[in-house]
Amino acid sequence: MPPRSISDSISGRVAARGARSHGADILGAVTARSLLRLWPLAMLPAAFALGSCEAPGGVSPIFPAPVSPNGQGIYNTYIGISIPAIIIFIGVELALLWVVIRYRRSKQPAGYIPPQIHGNTRLEWAWTAAPLIVVLAIAGYSFAELQKDFQPVTTYDFEIAVSGHQFGWSYTYPEGFTVHQEGTLAGDVTPFVVPVNKLIRLRLQGTDVIHSWWVPAISGKTDAVPGYDNFTWLKIDTVGTWRGECAELCGAGHSTMQIIVQSMSQYDYERWVRQQLATQNASPKPS
């Protein structure tokens, strides 16, 4: 099956999860509207792009809809931070706009001498405390998500070793065979196949320089560093194909280190595994 493009999979997910992506659209609209008010000129190109927001791959203020619970956790954290962030952004920009409009010399009476205020201890403490409370809340919220989804998992269905090299990835399955995903710029690489609804631990290994395994629809990045193993996990809840790329500059072929993850039903997956074993046994294998 030829891999679907990343935009197909995004739009497919948006249709499947209408309620939540509707929330994300409102969020996007608020940002866009407030920005439009403040920078009519600067926003012209962005407004043009936002107009095509419905089309797949248009300008989006949020990640692709996640298909794995850890990606969902990141997505929710992003939304959570956005609430205070947008309020603060609009509030401060409006204050700046008010200063620019109201307190310019031409708007003041002739001969106006501004009050010579050197400070206000209470106000200064207030705007020390307010950001402190906000960032402590954001840090606490983020830390809870960090503990939930970023600890090395101990209970999992099986583990796949993902090894990065210049310029491609190798995936070694518990059955003993290895899928080689050699990089191409066009991105028509061999897919990394996983079954749906199985919690799979990925053991990231580096063999030469540092690489970083990233499929935005699944979860965040994990570096493949020579010398020690890193761990991440995925549990994809639907059949489909997702794309990603190496995210750490690793040499001239960096942009060719494309990733395709394909999730299959358990039945299809088992058939695929038998196929792989047959192919790999057909070729001479070091004992």
């Binding site: 990343i6 920005l35 000129l41 600067a42 190109p45 962005a46 095509s52 791959g57 300008v59 203020p61 949020i62 990640f63 692709p64 990141i74 992003y78 931070i81 204050a95 700046l96 200063v99 307190y103 010399r105 001498i113 501004p114 010579q116 205020i117 400070g119 206000n120 200064e124 705007w127 020390t128 950001p131 402190l132 906000v134 960032v135 954001i138 840090a139 960090l146 970023f150 710029l185 990231l204 580096g206 030469d208 320089v209 540092i210 990233w214 935005p216 965040g220 990045k221 994990t222 570096d223 560093v225 020579p226 010398g227 020690y228 794309r243 995210a247 500059l249 001239a252 960096h254 942009s255």
Partner: protein, 554 residues
């Protein structure tokens, strides 16, 4: 005894000529001339780094372009980063401080004029070393951060670009340490009578905090580079595939993150100088402004591993760096609110420098807010090494540092050259820059969210094409704006309107001398009674320009 009024004699060479003899510029220890040389060096680097950026944007304008090959592209992004960070912003800010700090504190020169001279001349050496790499089989190609083990010999072939980069950065760090020591000594030891620490202009306080930072983090940077050289030339295994590549990242970012503040704190200082002058109100919360600077200095050295949230650290360690990073929002918030409060109820004159100040406030806010997203470890694992980070860092360094540099230059150019920058060109410069900047970097955030990693030489995904095309077009608007800026500088330097000593009705001592100032800065150091000494004199009706009476020679 009869006294006559007599102006101190000027040195002959200084008085006669500005451009010649060349020996004057090569050997001068005058902090003002050295400051001008720093600034000119910085601006030339700005042009070079900008040309790199335009080639990068052409390459990315559409999918699958090959304006340059991948290897050259990697050299270009590295050279763009190194040039803008090390050779433009930091160097320009050192120059403007070198010019202004001694005058603002009422001193006649820096504490160590010859160290100043040496420190400056190491910079061209550093720059030439770096670009020399292009002639040795290829310059640095691992990004401005130069992560090991990609910089190791095994992955570099025969090119010596990495060695030239490492040597260049070592020389740069030595120069930075010299400048920092000089600034701190000057400010501690050479203040005018009455210039107590609580009366220092906030730009000088910003320079103190910047110098402390560079003094502390310059050495670890040089150490990291020396270890890279050991690995490459002596066969050690510090950062190689067999060694500990992540150790390099710790050493580099222990410098690299404070470097961000080295590039923005002097800008904060300029903003704190410019708003009170054009709003005609004193700065709001002087003490909390100084406290916030030192809060940032302290916190900035405890956050470096937030660049490394994907290398696989203990979640409690990550939590610590996340918390410290977010806490930087507190002192930054204090400064932001104090600036708004300074302008509130003011009588604001929107001159070109003031426009750049408000452009800075409006854009830097976005960089600050996206910084909170990036500090959150879970969200950062998505955004890290993507175009979201590229957009964020340009909001901080372009919308932040470069806007403050323009503000400071439009503000102090009359003092430095004696002539005003053209206002019409300045307005055009500001508006094209503001539109071009936001057009380039605002939608760039969405590329990162959609999954476009940074530092890829090209891409095949057609979904990213439209956004990238808009970004490339806007980046040429920035280039046009910068061109206007340079035309303005050159035209005004020769034919601008004569500025007079105090065109803006300033508050601080640099306006209490002639434009440009004489080699000795002040014939008579004006009395300092508050942190706005010149305003005090103006209100008391005293003339700060009256030369000192000296006894007549008998």
């Amino acid at each position: 005894m009869a006294t006559t009024v007599q102006v101190l004699p000027k040195p002959k060479a200084y008085d006669d000529t500005f451009w010649k003899p060349i020996t004057l510029w090569l050997t001068t220890t005058d902090h003002k001339l050295i400051g001008i040389m720093y600034m000119v060096t910085g601006l030339l680097s700005f042009i070079i780094g900008g040309i790199f950026a335009l080639i990068i944007r052409l390459q990315l304008a559409q999918p699958n372009l090959s304006v340059v090959d991948h290897e050259t592209y990697n050299q270009l992004i590295s050279a763009h980063g190194v040039t803008m960070i090390f050779f433009f912003v930091t160097i320009f800010l050192t120059g403007i401080a070198n010019y202004m700090v001694p005058i603002m504190i009422g001193a006649r020169d820096m504490a160590f004029p010859r160290v100043n001279l040496l420190g400056f001349w190491l910079i061209p050496v550093s720059i030439l070393l770096y670009y020399g790499g292009f002639f040795t089989g290829g310059a640095l190609n691992a990004g401005w951060t130069g992560y090991a083990p990609l910089t190791e010999k095994a992955y570099q072939g025969h090119s010596l670009g990495v060695d030239f980069w490492a040597l260049s950065i070592i020389v740069w760090a030595i120069s930075g340490i010299m400048a920092s020591t000089n600034f701190l000594t000057t400010i501690v030891a050479l203040r005018a009578p009455g210039m107590k620490l609580t009366r220092l202009p906030l730009f000088v306080w910003a320079q103190i905090s910047t110098s402390i930072l560079l003094l502390i983090v310059g050495a670890p940077l040089a150490a990291a580079m020396i270890l890279v050289e050991f690995d490459r030339q002596l066969g050690t295994q510090f950062f190689t595939t067999q060694g500990r590549p992540v150790l390099y990242q710790h050493l580099f970012w222990f410098f690299g993150h404070p470097e961000v503040y080295i590039m923005i704190l002097p800008g904060f200082g300029m903003i704190s100088e410019i708003i009170p002058v054009f709003a005609r109100k004193p700065i709001f919360g002087y003490i909390s402004m100084v406290a916030a600077l030192f809060g940032i200095v302290f916190l900035s050295m405890t956050v470096w591993a937030h660049h490394m949230f994907t290398v696989g650290m203990n979640t409690w360690v990550e939590g610590f760096f996340m918390l410290m990073t977010m806490l930087i929002a507190v002192p930054t918030g204090i400064k932001f609110f104090n600036w708004i409060a300074t302008a509130w109820w003011g009588s604001i004159e929107f001159t070109v420098p003031m426009k750049f100040v408000f452009g800075f406030l409006a854009t830097f806010l976005i960089g600050g807010i996206t910084g909170i997203y990036l500090a959150s470890v879970p969200v950062d694992t998505q955004l890290h090494q993507s175009y979201y980070v590229v957009a964020h860092l340009h909001y901080v360094l372009f919308g932040g540092s470069v806007f403050t540099i323009f503000a400071g230059l439009y503000y102090w150019f009359p003092k430095i050259t004696g002539r005003m920058l053209n206002r019409t060109l300045g307005e055009w410069n500001f508006w094209t820059l503001f539109v071009g900047f936001n057009g380039t970097f605002l939608i760039m955030h969405t590329l990162g969210l959609e999954g476009m990693p940074r530092r890829i030489a090209t891409y095949a995904n057609p979904a990213w094409a439209a956004t990238n095309a808009i970004i490339t077009v806007s980046s040429f608007l920035i280039a046009f704006s910068v061109l206007l800026f340079f035309i303005n500088i050159i035209r005004s330097w020769y034919g601008g309107e004569i500025a007079g000593n105090d065109p803006w009705k300033g508050n601080t001592l640099e306006w209490a001398t002639t434009s440009p100032p004489p080699p000795y800065n002040f014939a008579k150091v004006p009395p300092v009674r508050s942190f706005m000494p010149l305003r005090d004199l103006r209100e008391a009706g005293e003339d700060p320009y009256e030369p000192a009476p000296v006894p007549a020679q008998v």
